[in-house]
Structures are given as structure tokens and as C-alpha cells.
């Protein structure tokens, strides 16, 4: 079977968070983008887990080709990482990602899936850690006419009476839910899948020579009007955190605890 994993390059969210914590996160003159040039760029962690989900299917004995695709100007580093992890094909759809909305991105990714030999499974991270939107996978599903199963903990291949299907354990607020869906399908992977593997040194070395296949919107027969954004980023800002913390102390933990409870009772919080 053919598995296509969609991967996005993002700013390291932990580094962004560290800047935010020390109050140094700033937005540039355009009012839209973070100014920190020092923040590393890496593969969205949920997408890395989507690759891990594909690799676990292979480990379970499923004969499959794993293709990893990204949209952007220069996704070589994350695609080489994908190759080191075990992707058989890596491709980059050339586009100015900042000028695309989720529809445009989904349009290019869906066109890639069609043009590159289709997919029995399209795996994506549940959301990207930069915009946290999580809308591209359902949009791909709608474009390809595939069912969409979101927020998966595990994905396994099963043979159903009417062909190939996947059994997916989904993480829901009401606990885990197990569903089955016939292939082809779009599945989004959540952090509950667990930590992705780390590529061996030899694989990382070998992946350095990998050149991702470059694909243009033209080659995918995607027209410029298909990529006109319906959602535009007008601005971005850093919210103010009201830091008025009163540190309670005492000579013993018991004293501190009593002090806190007295405060909370006095303010009718409890």
C-alpha cells in the first residue's frame, strides 16, 4: 500500500515558548511574523509522529511505500529528517507557504497525492504547532473524497470483508474510541501515539545526500486562482500575562498551607 505523510516545517515551539516566558517574544514591523531569527526550524512534532505511525505499520508487517511531502520554499532539512526516519520518497511542493491559506495548502497536497500515484492512507499530524489550526487534514479529505479520522493514538491495518481497512484508536474527551474505516482515508495523529523513533547515525549520514523531489504547482495542474487565500493573517501579537503573583511563605509547609487556605477562604474562593 502507499502511505503519504504530510509534514510542515515550523519554528521550534519550545524555543518560542522560552522567549515568551522571559518576555522577549516580539513581532516584526510587518505586524505578523516573529522577529527571532535564532529560533530553530524543525518538523512539526505531530507530523513526525504521523511518520512514526507509518513506520509502525511497516514494522507490523504491512508492505508499504512511505512518501513524505511538504509545501514550502525550502523544506530540505525536514524532508532529509523524514528520509533518515525511513521515508521511501520525499517531495517538496514549491510555494510561498506564507501566501497560502489552509485551502491552498490542502489543494497542493491533495494534488500531489493524486499525481504521485494516489494513497491508501494519508497521515497528518493533528495540528501544526505554529498556528494550531488543524484544518488542513480535513480539507485534504474533502478534496480527495476520503473519510477523515482525527486524533489517533494507534493505527493498524485490518482486512475487512470488503477490502483493506484501518482500525484507529481515537483519543476523545470521553475516553478512547475504536473506529474502522475503509482505505483510502485521511488519519490525523496525536501526541498520544508516543515518542517517535530517533534515526541512527548511519541513516542520518545517508539522508544528507537525499535530494527531495521538487514539484511545482504547474506540474500538479493547480491554477493560481485555486491558491487565492480565503483566510488572511492580518496581524499577530503577544498577549499580556497579568503577573501579580504573591508568594506565600512560612517556616514550615504546614504554616504555608494554612496561610493559603486562610486567604482562599477569606476571598470566598473556597
Amino acid at each position: 500500500m502507499r502511505i503519504v505523510v504530510c509534514a510542515k516545517e515550523v519554528l521550534d515551539p519550545d524555543a518560542v515558548n522560552n522567549y515568551a516566558l522571559v518576555g522577549k517574544l516580539e513581532i516584526g514591523a510587518d505586524g505578523k511574523t516573529l522577529t527571532q531569527a535564532a529560533i530553530p526550524r524543525l518538523m512539526n512534532a505531530y507530523d513526525e509522529q504521523a511518520i512514526e505511525a507509518a513506520l509502525r505499520l511497516r514494522d507490523a508487517g504491512v508492505t508499504c511505500t512511505i512518501a513524505v511531502v511538504s509545501v514550502g520554499r525550502n523544506a530540505t532539512d525536514i524532508l532529509r529528517h523524514a528520509a533518515a526516519l525511513g521515508a521511501d520518497e520525499v517531495a517538496c511542493v514549491a510555494a510561498d507557504a506564507s501566501a497560502l491559506d489552509a485551502h491552498g495548502t490542502a489543494c497542493l497536497l491533495a494534488a500531489y497525492v493524486r499525481q504521485s500515484g494516489g494513497a491508501d492512507l494519508v497521515l497528518c499530524g493533528r495540528q501544526a504547532s505554529d498556528d494550531d489550526q488543524g484544518v488542513v487534514p480535513p480539507l485534504i479529505g474533502e478534496r480527495l473524497g476520503m473519510p477523515v479520522v482525527t486524533i489517533a493514538r494507534t493505527v493498524e491495518l485490518v482486512q475487512s470483508s470488503d477490502g483493506r481497512a484501518v482500525r484507529v484508536t481515537r483519543v476523545t474527551p470521553d475516553g478512547d474510541e475504536v473506529v474502522e474505516v475503509r482505505c483510502p482515508a485521511v488519519i490525523t495523529i496525536s501526541n498520544e501515539l508516543g515518542a517517535p523513533r530517533y534515526p541512527t547515525a548511519a541513516r542520518r549520514m545517508a539522508a544528507r545526500r537525499v535530494q527531495p523531489k521538487a514539484v511545482s504547482a504547474d506540474e500538479l495542474a493547480v491554477l493560481p486562482e485555486d491558491l487565492q487565500p480565503r483566510v488572511k493573517l492580518a496581524r499577530q501579537f503577544v498577549p499580556q500575562v497579568q503577573g501579580k503573583c504573591e508568594i506565600l511563605s512560612g517556616s514550615t509547609p504546614a504554616e504555608v498551607a494554612d496561610r493559603l487556605m486562610a486567604r482562599l477562604r477569606a476571598e470566598s474562593v473556597i
Partner: protein, 324 residues
């Protein structure tokens, strides 16, 4: 039936934080000078008419098709697509439930229209466009999106909103029964084992939450968090790292990829305070942080802080909470 409305959509026979959604939706319908509508898929909640009136809903559109009585994504998306074709709303708003996270973008894909999730505020811009303020980078930043075209779709982060009923007298909404044809929809996802369901109270509704993180040291210490929560008549929550490590079930997880809560009191024990976690509790009225590290980020959000080992402090808090 008028078109061009701002339509809030719910299903499942429940209100689903509709009051929060109406509060934001009314702001938009007011700016546009259009009706506020409530689209209910499946059974109509008992209190619907009364609540709709108090929040200025002009019309309840009800689709009573039996196929909508339980949640089925293919069926719900098709029902919504047909509704939008008939009724041409200017904006369709959802509360960002787990189900709406899938339905809202799929509907946008079906209709080819703009969609934004994680909305904390809505405004109408100078050119009449809907401007959506949403959280990004796990809560470290806010982004403002402009949504172009019609309809536009937004999913609201309900706990970021304080419900405000109308000032004056209630309106009396009309009830319209809407027909759609769902006979040809084949649901493609088959449920093998349903989620076991929430037993009792929802974390989102808790007035007191005591949440634990890695600072608890090991899984068995989570019982301290549970004991303190019980002593305060609240519920226990958790940060993502200890859920990922399997100490507690993911239904306890507070934060961006877990529950968004708004309790009166939130006690964060052994939690560093990453933005992704704080997004799930920043709206709490009072936050108490207990952490060994005086520089931990959680203290920036807290009203009261205790610098120390939560394993020695929580037992004392349990004692003090019980002694009243």
C-alpha cells in the same frame, strides 16, 4: 426564512456552551445588522427557546432528521452543507467541541469557504469582513485572521468567553423546521468500540481543579492531587507530560490538546507552566502555583505562589482543607 444571518450551530440534544457562542455571535450579527440564528441538528434541547430568547436569537432552525440523533460526521457535514445552500448564512459558528474540530473544517472544504479555529474573539472589520482573534503557538501569541467570502466558518474556544444575556426583555424566537435529504449519505466511519463516556462530572464544569505535573516525581504521587481535589470538592487535572507518560488518563489533561477549563480555583502542583498548558486554565478566577523553581513560568499566571516541593506541601494543604 431570511438569509445572511449569523448562525450558531449545535447538535447532540445539548446546549453545548451555546450561551458563550451567542454572546460573541450577537456582536457580529449586530455589527452586520443581520439576524442571529441558532441551527440545532437532531433533538432540540428542552430549554432551547428560553435560552435563545435571553440571548437575542431571532430564529431557531431545527433539523429533526433521525439520522442526526447520534453524531455521525458524514451525515452532519451533509446536513450542514444542504442547510447552507438553502439558507445562505453569512457566518456559521461552532463551539469548538471535539466533534466540531472535524465538522467545521470539513464543511469549509465542502463549501470551499474560509474557516478559522481556536477563536477567542470575533469582530467585524472596516470592510465588513469577519476578523477572528485566535490563539497560536500554543497560546504564546494571538493571531487575527480576516475571513473572506460567504459563508465564513469559525470555531469558538467557548471557555474564553463570558456569557452575557440581553440587557432588556427577552426576544421570542421563531422556530423553523428545516428539511434536508440525508437518505443518500453513507457514514464511512464505523465505531467498533465506543468511548466509555464521561463518568459523572466534566472537568470543564469543575469549580475547583487541582492539577499535577512532572513535579510530582512519580505516577503514584498523583493520588495526592486527587486527595486535595476531593478535600476541596473539586476534580483532578493533569499536564500533558504526565498524560504522555501514562500516569493518568488523557481525559484529565488540561491544555491546548486537552480540556479548556474555567474554574474558580485552579491549583497547579509541580507544573512548570508551559503556554500549551496555561491555555487550558488561564481563564480560572484564581490560580495557585506550587513549584520548586521560583522562576517557573506558572508563577507569571498565578495569584498565589508557593515555592517548594509539592510532595511536602500538598499533604499539608489536604490537612488544612479538611480542617474547617
Amino acid at each position: 426564512m431570511t438569509s445572511d444571518a449569523v448562525t450558531v450551530c449545535t447538535w447532540g440534544g445539548q446546549l453545548g456552551d451555546a450561551e458563550e457562542a451567542f454572546t460573541l455571535a450577537r456582536k457580529v450579527s449586530g455589527s452586520w445588522g443581520v439576524d442571529l440564528k441558532w441551527l440545532v441538528l437532531g433533538s432540540l434541547p428542552e430549554q432551547a427557546i428560553g435560552i435563545a430568547g435571553r440571548y437575542g436569537v431571532a430564529e431557531i432552525d431545527h433539523i429533526a432528521d433521525a439520522a442526526l440523533d447520534k453524531f455521525q460526521p458524514d451525515v452532519h457535514v451533509e446536513a450542514l452543507a444542504q442547510y447552507c445552500a438553502q439558507s445562505t448564512p453569512k457566518a456559521v459558528l461552532f463551539n469548538q467541541t471535539y466533534e466540531a474540530r472535524l465538522v467545521a473544517p470539513r464543511l469549509a472544504g465542502r463549501l470551499g469557504c474560509a474557516v478559522a479555529m481556536n477563536a477567542m474573539d470575533l469582530e467585524v472589520g472596516g470592510e465588513g469582513q469577519l476578523c477572528v482573534t485566535a490563539s497560536a503557538y500554543g497560546g504564546d501569541t494571538r493571531v487575527v485572521y480576516e475571513l473572506i467570502g460567504a459563508p465564513v466558518i469559525a470555531a469558538l474556544s467557548a471557555n474564553a468567553i463570558v456569557p452575557e444575556p440581553l440587557d432588556g426583555a427577552s426576544a421570542s424566537p421563531t422556530l423553523c423546521e428545516i428539511r434536508v435529504d440525508l437518505s443518500r449519505v453513507v457514514e464511512r466511519i464505523r465505531i467498533v468500540t465506543p468511548a466509555r463516556g464521561q463518568s459523572g462530572a466534566r472537568l470543564e464544569d469543575a469549580q475547583v481543579i487541582v492539577a499535577g505535573g512532572r513535579g510530582l516525581g512519580e505516577a503514584r504521587n498523583f493520588r495526592l492531587v486527587q486527595e486535595l481535589a476531593e478535600a476541596l470538592g473539586g476534580m483532578a487535572g493533569a499536564s500533558r507530560p504526565i498524560v504522555d507518560d501514562g500516569w493518568v488518563d488523557s481525559s484529565r489533561q488540561v491544555g491546548l490538546t486537552g480540556k479548556i477549563t474555567r474554574p474558580a480555583l485552579y491549583i497547579a502542583a509541580g507544573i512548570s507552566g508551559a503556554s500549551q498548558h496555561m491555555v487550558g486554565c488561564a481563564a480560572a478566577k484564581t490560580i495557585v502555583a506550587i513549584n520548586r523553581d521560583p522562576d517557573a513560568a506558572v508563577f507569571r499566571y498565578a495569584r498565589y505562589g508557593i515555592v517548594g516541593d509539592c510532595l511536602t506541601i500538598i499533604p499539608e494543604l489536604i490537612r488544612a482543607a479538611k480542617a474547617r
